[in-house]
């Protein structure tokens, strides 16, 4: 366990950024979002949740896949992939850190998504324990301890210090490269930190969504849930926007599109939302013509289909972003509860 004074953090960022790109929550035009750190960046580790989750570091909203040149009848394929450079993502909360494991199950399963893989291999994740959980948080429902996040390095604020605990080899390597900035934490520090964590865990228990019951969910009763009449009512106010999807750390649906640049075609992929009415549109029509079906798909995927294919694991980490951002305040919590998963 190491520590660094809060007021020395800028030096730490600078030292990391010297060797590799550092992504860190910054206040960008009024909103906290992960951004590349540079001199003068308005780092914002106080805000609990960035608007977009940390997933965009590994799975960006838009990403070039391949480009083409065409001339007459000929096509040339240009593989524009590059091995990712090393980078660090700092300030990842426990929920977002957990989301990487979920994304891994999708993108690293056979056949491997090389775009994601190279970023995962070259990215070092520094997590940050939560100090002040908010009312929309329900990570504990998924077994996440927001006071003890995973990652290559876990960090914690307590008193004057940021505590620094490397957890993997990658984390150790990074720690070694920053040795001159980090102090070694003593027993007193450890005790203080433990107290802090205890405090946080106490607060967690007071959260309004604490104890959200997911026992009714999972791979079982797929058809029964699918055919439930509740979906109609739950989805009736849904606008069909993608706010929930795009702030979600685990949503990973994407679209592949071609952009004609004039003298070549750029094929790129971008985030897509199953809430969009054109999501499954094909030449013949769409198998999910109503918003109810699309709404159902999103929650069935997170709470039933994904667990069914992944040993019971849900595709939700309880970060609560969708709870906060939905324009009409319909969210996964209300869905979970509607099917009998009552809170405390």
């Amino acid at each position: 366990m190491f520590k660094i004074k809060k007021n020395s953090l800028n030096k730490l960022y600078a030292a990391i950024a010297e060797a590799q790109t550092l992504y860190i929550p910054c206040n960008v035009n009024g909103k906290p979002n992960f951004a590349v750190w540079g001199e003068g960046a308005d780092v914002d580790l106080a805000s609990l949740k960035t608007v977009k989750s940390a997933k965009e570091v590994f799975f960006p909203q838009c990403e070039d896949i391949v480009s083409f040149k065409t001339k007459g009848k000929e096509i040339t394929v240009i593989d524009c992939r590059k091995e990712s450079e090393d980078f660090v993502v700092f300030g990842v909360r426990a929920c977002d850190a957990k989301s990487f494991e979920i994304l891994d199950k999708v993108f690293l399963s056979d056949p491997v998504d090389t775009f994601y893989k190279t970023k995962r291999e070259h990215g070092t994740v520094i997590t940050l324990a939560c100090s002040r959980p908010e009312e929309s948080c329900f990570c504990s429902a998924f077994g996440i301890d927001c006071a003890e996040p995973s990652g290559d390095v876990a960090t914690y604020f307590s008193g004057e210090y940021l505590y620094w605990s490397p957890k993997t080899e990658k984390g150790l390597n990074l720690t070694n490269s920053l040795k001159n900035l980090l102090e070694i934490a003593n027993d007193k520090d450890n005790l203080a930190l433990e107290n802090e964590q205890k405090n946080i865990r106490e607060i967690t228990k007071k959260l309004p969504l604490y104890g959200l019951d997911l026992s009714k969910w999972g791979a079982d009763d797929l058809l029964e849930k699918f055919n439930s009449e509740k979906w109609q009512e739950l989805s009736s106010a849904c606008l069909g926007c993608g706010a929930c999807t795009f702030v979600c750390p685990t949503c990973q649906c994407y679209d592949v599109r071609d952009f004609d640049k004039g003298n070549g075609v750029q094929r790129y992929r971008c985030w897509d939302s199953c809430m969009y009415n054109d999501f499954t549109m094909m030449a013949h029509g769409t198998p999910r013509p109503t918003q109810m079906q699309r709404f159902r798909q999103r929650f069935m995927h997170k709470l039933v289909y994904f667990p069914s294919n992944n040993g019971g694991e849900f595709s939700c980490v309880g970060c609560g972003r969708c709870v906060e951002k939905c324009p009409i305040n319909m969210n996964i919590v209300k869905v979970i509860k509607a099917f009998g998963g009552e809170g405390k």
Binding site: F259, K261, G262, N263, G264, Q266
Partner: protein, 151 residues
């Protein structure tokens, strides 16, 4: 920097209505009145056919200036087309200015079928103004730009 400016030849898209301005451009040709080759004319039936989207599209794809020409107000072949176009373009231009896009990149001129000389002088002036503004950087798609420069 100055050398660069000298080299800079802006891409200009001109939308011309079929009845007046396109004919005016033809007349400029018939009269052998010179204007820069940067200007490429797209024929539309009426200035009211010009969708703001087309203008944005031109900028996206790398145009440095877009000019729309139509019949003089009151002379529209379709009676009222250019009146609607006038309102739309006024709103669009002010809106682009509001977003910080250089207002010199957009222009509307009314050119009649008889105004060949005016067509040429309007184009000369517009090209000059856009050239002075330099390349369009604020409302263009970098993907297209990179492709162009990559050549």
């Amino acid at each position: 920097m100055q050398v660069e400016n000298k080299e800079f030849k802006p891409t200009i898209v001109a939308f011309c209505c079929n009845w007046c301005s396109y004919a005016g451009a033809d007349l400029a040709g018939t009269g052998r009145m010179q204007y820069p080759a940067n200007v490429k004319i797209i024929r539309v039936p009426c200035s009211c056919r010009v969708n703001p989207t087309f203008i944005l599209r031109a900028f996206q794809r790398g145009a440095d200036g877009v000019i729309m020409c139509g019949c003089h107000p009151g002379d529209c072949h379709y009676t009222s087309g250019n009146y609607y176009a006038r309102r739309r373009m006024t709103m669009l231009f002010d809106f682009l200015d509001y977003l910080g896009i250089e207002k010199g990149r957009t222009r509307v001129e009314w050119v009649s079928a008889a105004e060949g000389a005016r067509f040429a002088s309007v184009m000369n002036e517009f090209v000059k103004n856009v050239t002075e503004l330099g390349p369009n950087k604020r409302i263009t798609d970098l993907r297209c730009k990179m492709e162009k420069e990559g050549e």
